[in-house]
Symmetry: C2
Subunit: 261 residues, 2 copies
């Protein structure tokens, strides 16, 4: 039995950090019609969560458009928890957005009431993080503070420290996603996960070893402490994501029948 998080959170009835890891699918369409179609397809799969990767959306600079998209999305996905993510280009984002646009977009998205969680990179300026953090707390939106490295896997201590830093900065969930060069790096990520879960990190965590070698972390990471895994719905949003039905098949073997359909 996996070790649960000491500070579980519940979002629209879904427990993050509990007995079982959750499955989240990313929405990555470029245009509104395609995005709504994607949301409708993925919602039908009944994942535990959805994430709108707004950095993949062609209209990401148009705040009013994004808000009307959010309105549509919520109507389509019903009670499925939604993460709102405008990934920085230097941490894997799909387009460059001006910092001011990002800030306004994030604040308006949280205020809309359609969004349950936002994902913010720890490498943002302190002021940016504080503004988002304060507004999120006031609105009851949950905060994911994240670290991504598409080039390498830093050492175990660095990774565990990043998770601890996210908690210290006020996150409800801490996230790291790093690129392995071999299976040793995959073990480093899993080991940092296990250390964080059993040590100083009390909040739920999301840890990912990306790419082909890291696929095992998307399936088995939950055993070592990762609380959410990202699968590919229609398209993947990061290298190594497994298709939703594969993820469910594998997770049924590791965590029990509740993943079966």
């Amino acid at each position: 039995m996996r070790q649960q998080s000491r500070k579980q959170i519940t979002v629209r009835g879904k427990v993050v950090g509990g007995t079982r890891p959750l499955i989240c699918l990313p929405l990555v369409a470029r245009e509104m019609a395609a995005l709504c179609h994607e949301a409708s397809e993925l919602a039908a799969l009944q994942p535990d969560m959805l994430e709108w990767r707004v950095d993949a959306f062609s209209g990401a600079e148009d705040v009013a458009l994004c808000l009307s998209v959010l309105h549509e999305l919520r109507a389509i996905i019903g009670e499925i928890p939604l993460i709102f993510t405008c990934r920085l280009d230097r941490e894997g984002g799909l387009q460059h957005l001006r910092q001011e646009s990002r800030l306004t977009l994030l604040l308006r998205a949280m205020e809309s009431g359609y969004v349950d969680l936002v994902d913010i990179e720890l490498c943002n300026e302190r002021e940016f993080i504080e503004k988002i953090g304060a507004r999120a707390k006031a609105l009851g939106v949950k905060l994911i503070f994240s670290y991504h490295n598409f080039h390498e896997t830093p050492g175990k201590e660095f990774l565990a420290a990043k998770l601890a830093e996210a908690e210290k900065t006020g996150a409800d969930i801490a996230k790291i996603a790093v690129m392995p060069k071999d299976y040793h790096d995959v073990l480093t990520l899993l080991s940092a996960t296990n250390t964080a879960r059993n040590g100083q990190v009390g909040i739920p965590i999301i840890t990912i070893s990306m790419g082909e070698a890291g696929r095992i972390s998307r399936l088995a990471g939950g055993l070592f402490g990762s609380d959410i895994t990202f699968g590919a719905g229609r398209e993947s949003s990061a290298p190594g994501q497994m298709a939703f039905h594969e993820l469910k098949t594998g997770m049924a073997l590791l965590y029990g029948k509740e993943y079966q359909r």
Copy 2:
């Protein structure tokens, strides 16, 4: 892609230490009729290997009977490679056999020509190991030298050293199976596996973290270097073994479609 072994071996056409980990199923029936039935059922599943756990057999002290069983088994299983294992009781064996009976049984079994591999615990006396080793080399039977610990998971260096010791002692395949108390211990086993495969151990290896927590090692151990995984056919022979069809389902996700039926 997993790192292959530097010294692959081929047994009846099956490559141990190659691009994909093999699946072995144990035969653990107590009586001859049940054993033949079990062999017939398991052979029909077409596993990569079968292992006769003769220590589970009620007639294990009767060498002549065991040889006639072997004759029957080979007729039933055809060209499936067969491991002959008379596990020591203090390393998980299911009955106590006198050392002399074990020695005679192992030598006669190897001489019968029905057996492709034998599994011998490293903790046996040096003279015992040397006698078996010399006869195996002369007959072309492959040697698995093994270490089992049903109480705990020793440190990573100890485990990697056990695998190296098996190779130095003349094994064709080195095996360790240890019991985890938590997921940290599971990572220790996987890490020792990865270190051995990428370091000083050139022969194929089998590494297992047993029990419920260790199940992931039976599925994913091959990524880190383990070359054979043991599944449960009709019954399991050690704690944590997954059913054959579950193992195949999971391995198809990790290693490719050749595991699908």
